[in-house]
């Protein structure tokens, strides 16, 4: 076991190394570059026996991963914002073709204007491409999730690509303590990838040819069913990981919600800061807790329903905006609850777009405003907007 103080970006690189990825194809973009740089060093030093294709664009990065995965290799890439957007076509391709590629996306605001700071609009915009999405909140989780993602995605019942997501700078460039188990133990947890379907000389088949309306629809049904099945697989894999390495993961993380009246629904690093706010508010006597949505696709509807059934108020804090609608976690939370017989009021807050710092005081004040019925319902609460 090695414990090290490392960047979030390097946690991705180490995670990929320890997952023994076989093909990497990536293109540099701030704030992801350190992921790629360390991986090139691993490949150069022989620490990682992988082919690294230094492609000329992100579209090609994803396409190269698609090719590698089609030929049965464990493929990996990492990108951010503009790069993720440029991949868009191939993101559909990877999922529709059922390639269990794993990618790290560093959440960075979309331009213009150019920004290199965090918000979730880049990954949220890829919501419907058929990728699993995991929003991480610490460097340790980034490392752990990279490894788990392969195990989840490569599961026969899933066979879909997965994206682990971390905040620009707040995680990517922040050094934290990360505990990395010995390689043998990881190998036991994550055996080599044996592709069930691949390009094969002994079993020659064609992939992806024209399909008429008589079957396309069924494929989409199956793709969606695999997403639904992934809900359980994610929990199983998270539990197995916990049993082996002592750190448990699931679809959501619950924090002090047992007797909570108010529950904050949060994600990514905002969730970590919110925990501090919850602790302080508890000391002031407020019965408050939080649920951190770790898995956004597939969306953990059942979990949300269960938590909602026991509380008086939910406040969803989004670091993203679906223009013309509202925060996306807000929409999805409400949608999960709509047909419930009894459900609490759900408030929506937007915060921290383009990397504006989200402070403990912000979260505390949001909660207090909620408690005093000062948040607006059915309207976006824009937190801290200067206009």
């Amino acid at each position: 076991m090695v414990k090290k103080v490392i960047y979030g970006n390097h946690a991705v690189s180490y995670g990929a190394r320890d997952s023994r990825v076989e093909v990497i194809a990536a293109y540099p973009i701030t704030p992801q570059t350190q992921v790629v740089e360390l991986l090139s060093e691993f490949c150069a030093s022989g620490e990682l026996k992988a082919k690294f294709i230094k492609v000329e664009s992100e579209h090609s990065a994803m396409a190269a991963c698609v090719g590698a995965s089609a030929a049965g290799a464990r493929a990996f890439t990492a990108t951010s914002s503009q790069g993720l957007a440029l991949m868009h076509e191939m993101l559909h391709w990877a999922s529709n073709a059922r390639h269990p590629i794993v990618m790290a996306n560093i959440n960075r605001a979309m331009g213009p204007p150019w920004s290199i700071w965090t918000d979730q609009n880049d990954s949220i915009a890829q919501r419907d491409t058929g990728w699993l999405q995991f929003y991480c909140s610490t460097n340790q989780e980034v490392y752990d999730t990279t490894i788990q993602a392969f195990k989840i995605c490569e599961n026969d019942k899933v066979l879909l690509p997965g994206m682990l997501i971390l905040d620009a700078f707040v995680l990517s460039h922040t050094s934290e303590v990360v505990d990395m188990p010995p390689q043998e133990e990881i190998d036991e947890f994550l055996p080599p990838y044996e592709a069930k379907y691949k390009l094969d000389l002994d079993d020659p088949r064609a992939f992806g040819g024209l399909m008429f309306p008589d079957w396309y629809y069924e494929l989409k049904y199956k793709q969606h069913r695999s997403m639904e099945k992934a809900l359980k697989i994610i929990e199983d894999v998270g539990r197995e990981f916990g049993e082996r390495f002592g750190r448990y993961y699931g679809l959501v993380e619950e924090y002090r919600i047992d007797d909570a009246e108010i529950v904050l629904v949060v994600s990514s690093t905002v969730a970590q800061t919110s925990k501090e706010a919850v602790d302080l508010l508890r000391k002031e006597g407020m019965r408050i807790g939080l649920v951190r949505i770790r898995t956004f696709r597939p969306f953990p509807k059942e979990k949300i329903r269960k938590i909602a059934s026991k509380v008086d108020m939910m406040i969803v804090i989004d670091r993203n905006i679906s223009f013309g609608s509202e925060g996306v976690f807000y929409t999805e939370t409400k949608a999960a609850l709509y047909n419930e017989k009894s459900r609490p009021p759900v408030y929506g807050v937007i915060i921290g777009l383009g990397g504006r710092d989200v402070r403990v005081e912000d979260i505390m004040n949001i909660a207090k405003k909620g408690k005093n019925n000062k948040l607006e319902i059915n309207k976006i609460n824009w937190w801290g907007v200067k206009l």
Partner: protein, 199 residues
Amino acid sequence: MEKTVKKRRIFLMEEIKMYEVRFHGRGGQGAVTAATILADAAFHEGKDVQAFPMFGVERRGAPVAAFMRMDTKPIDIKTQIYEPDCVVVLDPTLMSVVDVTKGLKENGKIIINSSKDPKEFNLGKGKVYTIDATEIAIKHGLGTKTNPIVNTAILGAYSKAVGNVKIESIEEAILQNAPRKKEENRKAAVEAYEKTRGE
């Protein structure tokens, strides 16, 4: 907002052991590395740590900042640092361009790379310590005369002035993290530790 902050302080007086440090330097001087090495040293003493750069675009020569946060209990918060307990200034020429004491706690500490006596600095708050890290760096062959690498020497001064990270841990962290001239860097830190002057 201000009120809640104050309240929190009074309320949690005993509990707050978190210690926050801000480094000021110029792009290319290794302020971020200094923050990371200090974090690593504190980690080896069993603390939970975070180190991060100013979230911006770094250009060679332009003012930059880096941050370090440590605590005896796990650190949850992921915010920037606004009210540091300590400020470390790698390049004193910055002090005419940047307000290095901004947000510094009243009883905070300021460590400046300077050959001057601490008394010569009149900053209005905090306790000043000085160390001629430039001279020490040059003596140990770290960087060039025009571009000395002072980030390891200044950590020795930190250890002496603040005392919450042992010099031995800093030496160890330097040996592990310095990309080159490990031994020279370590020695520079030790020499700085010995020569640090306080008010």
